[in-house]
């Protein structure tokens, strides 16, 4: 059992609250990704779990044991830092064995564990090297190895891939996913990269301004974002938002005066301001969708198999639509965007999802 349970956790630096009422359960063996923009408190939350930051109030248990006042070492966690934080004056073997030596682990046991970790991470030929003689990816693996040998209840990853180049990042991402499957470890992983979040997580926790905005499976967050923040944060490019007002009889009036007939929830009354959300891949350039928006193409980003058309509406707002293949149009031309009601997300004036 290595469940992490966090209840009513608060953390403030003087008058500034950086974590507000965090409730979170990380189930045994699950991979939970904390994601959010910089400064949202995700790293602080991770460091609180690690015991590197004292919390102001609330409770935290790891494997059923209350850990609020325990130092990091007694929490049975292992952390992988963004900067790897390898000890520069020790070789790879000693970097991994260092913590165990101080825990008075028998020498043979240390040897066995380090060699096992080295085998899993393919570090065997590198055991005698110093960190500065390793590439970024190798250092990353050593940092993970150092975590593995401690056999912790919970692994904590603090943006482990952000110092790697693009190709290596994808590789290492796959490695981490495999590692999680193999070790069946409980992992809490912090990132600002939503692709990492989507691909790795069993459960994503989207944070903003010290609060948890939404917790859920990756695709749930994608298809049913609970509020405007999550809708805008998950997905790349971000979801398009159009403001509208509700008129009698379930009709929405867009800011350009166009009327859209959609199925509105009962909680919506005439005169309410709402926000419509539609992802770029659900908008087409000149397709046959129910709803149409006219505008001028500002720019087309061509990625190869697909591309993104940035279309400026008469209101001045820019909407992004995904285009397949070569759209045959170019910037400066007028275009019609179409989309269907099926893929619309509706949010009320407070930014909460309307269903």
């Amino acid at each position: 059992m290595s469940e992490v349970k966090i209840e009513k956790l608060r953390k403030s630096y003087g008058p500034v609250e950086v974590l507000k009422d965090i409730d979170l359960t990380v189930e045994n063996g699950s991979f939970v990704v904390l994601v959010g923009p910089s400064g949202c408190g995700k790293s602080t939350l991770l460091r609180s779990i690690a015991g590197l930051e004292p919390v102001t109030s609330g409770s935290m248990t790891i494997g059923g044991k209350k850990v609020n006042d325990l130092p990091p070492a007694q929490r049975e966690i292992a952390m992988v830092f963004q900067s790897y934080a390898l000890y520069p004056h020790m070789d790879v073997y000693n970097n991994m064995a260092f913590g165990l030596k101080f825990a008075k682990t028998p020498k043979a046991d240390i040897d066995a564990r380090v060699n096992e970790a080295a085998r899993i991470l393919q570090l065997e030929p590198l055991l005698k090297r110093r960190p500065r003689e390793l590439s970024g990816g190798q250092r990353q693996r050593v940092a993970i190895g150092r975590a593995i040998v401690r056999k912790p209840q919970v692994f904590l990853f603090d943006e482990p891939l952000s110092n790697l180049d693009a190709a290596l990042r994808i590789n290492t991402r796959v490695e981490i996913a495999k590692l999680h499957k193999m070790l069946k470890a409980t992992i809490v992983y912090v990132t600002h990269d939503q692709v990492e979040a989507m691909t790795l997580a069993d459960k994503i926790v989207v944070m903003n301004k010290g609060r948890i905005e939404q917790t859920g499976k990756p695709l749930d967050l994608y298809y049913k974002p609970a509020n405007l923040f999550v809708a805008g944060f998950i997905g790349s490019p971000a979801m398009n938002f159009l403001t509208a007002t509700v008129k009698q009889g379930g009709v929405l009036v867009l800011s350009d005066g166009q009327e859209l007939k959609v199925k509105l929830p009962n909680s919506c009354g005439p005169g309410d301001a709402v926000t419509l959300g539609c992802r770029p891949e659900h908008m087409t350039l000149g397709g046959s969708g129910t709803f149409k928006l006219n505008g001028m193409i500002d720019l087309i980003e061509r990625l190869g198999e697909s591309g993104f058309a940035h279309v400026r509406l008469p209101s001045g707002q820019t909407v992004i639509a995904e285009v397949r293949g070569d759209p045959g149009t170019s910037s400066g031309q007028t275009a019609t965007l179409t989309f269907d009601a099926d893929h619309l997300h509706l949010f009320n004036a407070e930014g909460q999802r309307l269903d």
């Binding site: 690690a50 015991g51 590197l52 130092p71 990091p72 070492a73 007694q74 966690i77 292992a78 952390m79 830092f81 963004q82 900067s83 790897y84 934080a85 390898l86 000890y87 520069p88 004056h89 260092f98 913590g99 101080f102 825990a103 500065r132 150092r146 401690r150």
Partner: protein, 275 residues
């Protein structure tokens, strides 16, 4: 690329300065190998077979007191380096790593220590040492020198410790190290070049100092070598052979220490550069 002409000028200036700095040392060493007459007759000439003499060295090493003065000097310098580095690094670590109430004030207090010359407090230091019954002991010298060198040591080591990434110390904490173990096994190895720097500039003034040995340990066989040599300088007669030989040999221990520490310096510089 620097132009050869300007490089030549730079080297000429540096060469001139080196010659100027080395000249007195050369003079001392040269004359220490000459007979008394030759020292006065031709002080600027090298020893020749006819003027060569080891009489000065014979006197110095024949005198068991002088040997013990060397040992005293080495003890005092070594002890001072040890305590300055140990306490300096510990204080620097505490001041940079931990946030406590009097942190800033304490740091300020130490930096004032850099500015106030310790010799201003000589009278009170003597009174203190007398009251502690430490007069004519090496401990008195080590204590005073450590106090004298601590402020600057703390200042410099703090800068270096602040440069150690925070993640490293936290990785240590996650690995279950106590704060002492983090200090001794992570922080100290990483600031070795800085410690070598501090050791070098701690060592030389301590080795050369005449003031405090004269005040605190002038007799009782606890003289340091700089003080001990004074016995050859009399009011009427000065035994130049012995003085010059003693001076020449006094360079050696400090030179050895310097070589040891400067190795660390160079190693530290390059290991940082590769990263």
């Amino acid at each position: 690329m620097r132009k050869p002409a300007s490089s030549l000028v730079v080297h000429a200036i540096l060469g001139l300065y080196t010659a100027l700095a080395l000249f007195p040392i050369l003079l001392v060493i040269m004359n220490s190998f000459k007979a008394r007459k030759a020292i006065f007759g031709a002080p600027l000439s090298f020893p020749t077979p006819s003027t060569f003499s080891l009489i000065g060295y014979d006197k110095v090493f024949g005198d068991s007191k002088i040997i013990s003065y060397y040992v005293n000097s080495i003890t005092v310098t070594g002890g001072t380096i040890f305590f300055t580095l140990l306490f300096g690094a510990m204080a620097a670590w505490a001041l940079t790593e931990y946030k406590f109430r009097w942190n800033t004030l304490l740091a300020l207090f130490f930096s004032i220590g850099i500015m106030v010359p310790i010799r201003l407090g000589s009278v009170s230091i003597i009174q203190l040492v007398v009251q502690m019954h430490l007069i004519n002991t090496l401990s008195a010298l080590i204590l005073v020198y450590t106090a004298q060198n601590l402020p600057l040591a703390i200042f410099i080591l703090s800068e270096f410790i602040a440069q150690i990434p925070k993640d490293l110390r936290e990785a240590g904490r996650c690995d279950g190290l106590s704060e002492y173990n983090i200090f001794f096994h992570i922080v100290l190895p990483l600031i070795r070049p800085a410690m070598a720097t501090v050791a070098v500039f701690t060592m030389i003034p301590v080795w050369n100092d005449l003031w405090f040995p004269l005040l605190l340990a002038p007799t009782g066989g606890k003289q340091t070598i700089t003080l001990g040599i004074q016995q050859f300088l009399g009011q009427y007669i000065t035994d130049w052979n012995a003085v010059l030989s003693a001076l020449s040999t006094a360079i050696i221990p400090v030179l050895i220490l310097y070589v040891i520490f400067s190795r660390q310096l160079i190693r530290g510089l390059t290991s940082g550069a590769v990263k």
